[in-house]
Amino acid sequence: MKKGYLILLLHAHLPFVRHPEHEYFLEENWLYEAITETYIPLIDAFDRLLNEGCDFRITMTISPPLAAMLADSLLQDRYLSHLNRLIELSGKEIERNRHDDRFRRLAEMYHAKFKNDRYVFEDKYSRNLLTAFKKFQDLGKLDIITCGATHGYLPLMETVPQSVRAQIRVAKEHYESCFGRAPRGIWLPECGYNPGIDEVLAENGIQYFFMETHGILHGSVRPKYGVFAPVYCPSGVAAFSRDMESSKQVWSAEEGYPGDAVYREFYRDIGYDLDFDYIKPYIHPDGIRIGTGIKYYGITGHTNHKELYDPHRAYEKTAEHAGNFMFNREKQVEFLFDHMDRKPLIVAPYDAELFGHWWYEGPQFLEFLLKKIYFDSQIIQLTTGWEYLKEYPRNQVLVPSYSSWGYKGYSEVWLEGSNDWIYRHLHEASHRMHDLAVKYKEVQNGLITRALNQAARELLLAESSDWAFIMKTGTMVPYAQRRTKDHILCFTRLYEDIKNSTIDEGWLSGVEAKDNIFPAIDFRVYV
């Protein structure tokens, strides 16, 4: 008999970045890089596991903006041309390195990988990777959970509850349109929780969410099992909370796996290293060097000298690290099992893009881990929030504490000198949206309805926590500021136009075509 459970959770999210008005837009690369380096490798790994008869369980957020982008035909086309350029570049690299076997073999590896990506993307899943994730969910291996509609940080919407409701309701409806059933679980954006948010989840039929460790540890009542079992909020929604120890093993400096010397070095990219005229067609059109994804070196050590990357050694290492991770979870579970009157549960959530994008070998690590646990472990079993609650429907009730998984555990990341100016505008727009929704809820006129729906989209896009996060981190700040301002300005114009009956249909059509997220939105979520 197994002694305990593990929930592996990958939070996949990117802000909605789609600029049909520009041929090339740097920030769209966020999506393209994540598809090539994270999403396709994960899909490949899951497909191999299926073929091998491995009955794995994994939980993944696919945030509504990410889902919307993966399903968007413009971005699909653009991703394909991006990928074709990589195939071309890696082909040239094979040629360029023809006299150096070691480099040539690496170039061949990339070339084969990118061609496989094109096969997976275009042929196998007809350009829409959501169909892949849906397949794994329908087979019972993957539990796809939802998120805030635009990853809005909910604790700072305390004074505008209509915005909290819209973030959850719109997310839920969008999930249904993507995956053909209602979401059972949710990843609260940035794990941001304050008491009362669970009630909105309950209204939308969402049965569980995930939170930061101290959200439960500092709850209204001391939790009997610590973080090793979920609790129920008074609304009846279950809260699972993160185990620090398993997080640390993957992330941390001293014990973290991704920093191992044999793994691929992130920063040495041919986009930076090679002759400018040679690489120019594959970097930013303005001649600014960016990473291409082709990297030939290993981490090696804390030195500028880098050894050539050895994929076979790295592969072996992922197996070793997966074994180590499993061993540590087993020890943890065995220890906990002796002190609990039920099977302990370990919840290990990570940003999905850590695996593959940052830690190149991460998806391989996960594949080994899922396989090892299923075939080898006598002690731990993988589960999902849903399956766990079916086995243990009775849980302690408490009110979790306000918390997030951001730096210092509360809201400081999204509320500090660089980004605090946004809230007066977001809140004002939220009040205005509510007023409009109440006033026009019976409206029949098609044009006014379209304007109201677009106003709702603009508000939601402005609320994305990514903008505040980017402002704080100090990279690409003008883009985040611009996005916040532009969405608020668009919203404000729609608000004025609706009020003054001066809606400009041509302009509205343009905005609808650009900010085309949530085509089926109904502005009445703001009533």
Binding site: K224, F228, Y267, G287, V413, Y423
Partner: protein
Amino acid sequence: MSKNLEGLDKIELLEIAKKLRIPNASKLTKPQLISKIKKSQTSSKSPSKTKKPVPRIESPLSVRVRLKARESIEGKPGFVHPYSESAMHAIGPEMHPSPGSGELPSTYGVTKIVLMVRDPYWCYSYWDFSAETMNQINKWFKELDGPRAVLRVYDVTDKIFNGSNANSFFDVDIHFDAKNWYLELGRPDRSFLVDIGVLDKNGFFYLIARSNVVRTPRDVPSDVVDEQWMSRDFELLYAVSGGFKVGQSSAELVESVKKGILFRKWLSSGAVSSRS
């Protein structure tokens, strides 16, 4: 260039270190910095085949993932990567084709004040005034004796506030033009609201607007224990969860249990004092 390094102060050296992408530069002493810079300047000539310096930019996605990585280990040193410290600063030129130029309004012309919780100890408030309010304020400042702009912060824990039944209050001198203020309350698990107004020399408070009520989060374990859900291993599980010392691993705890030092350690930590 390296000849002159000794003559520079540490801040100037850090600037150079940043450009050379020397990791953890800020943690080095001045002599260490100088030697690193010298080393880096000699080694940096070799590997690159680039003819002329070309602007570069790091993948924005990686910045996001890496910063998340740092943040996700609360109170722990972040993920240290050979280049990560310096790469944080490797920001390329901003390249946004035809950025919009529209600016947001500086006021919405409605008088109000809003209070937001940042963490167990700090709140943030922002306010906005209508034209009429502005006139009224100007009038007060002309007519009143020694007027001061203040935020009056009320502790209204377990109260339905009626204007005079707060548990306590204190005033913070502010500038109305600042339009926002961070308030260090230092009191977790309490309820607060703020009034914005003008205080005169005689202690009369002229109210402009009142905020919403907020509750600061608890920063320690609750004192409440649910008897139905009590067990003998309660404190142990709480500790392994990180309840008393975030980040202690179960391996360490197993050792502690074996040595019988676990409970002593907790009891001396003060974290369970409310139960002793």
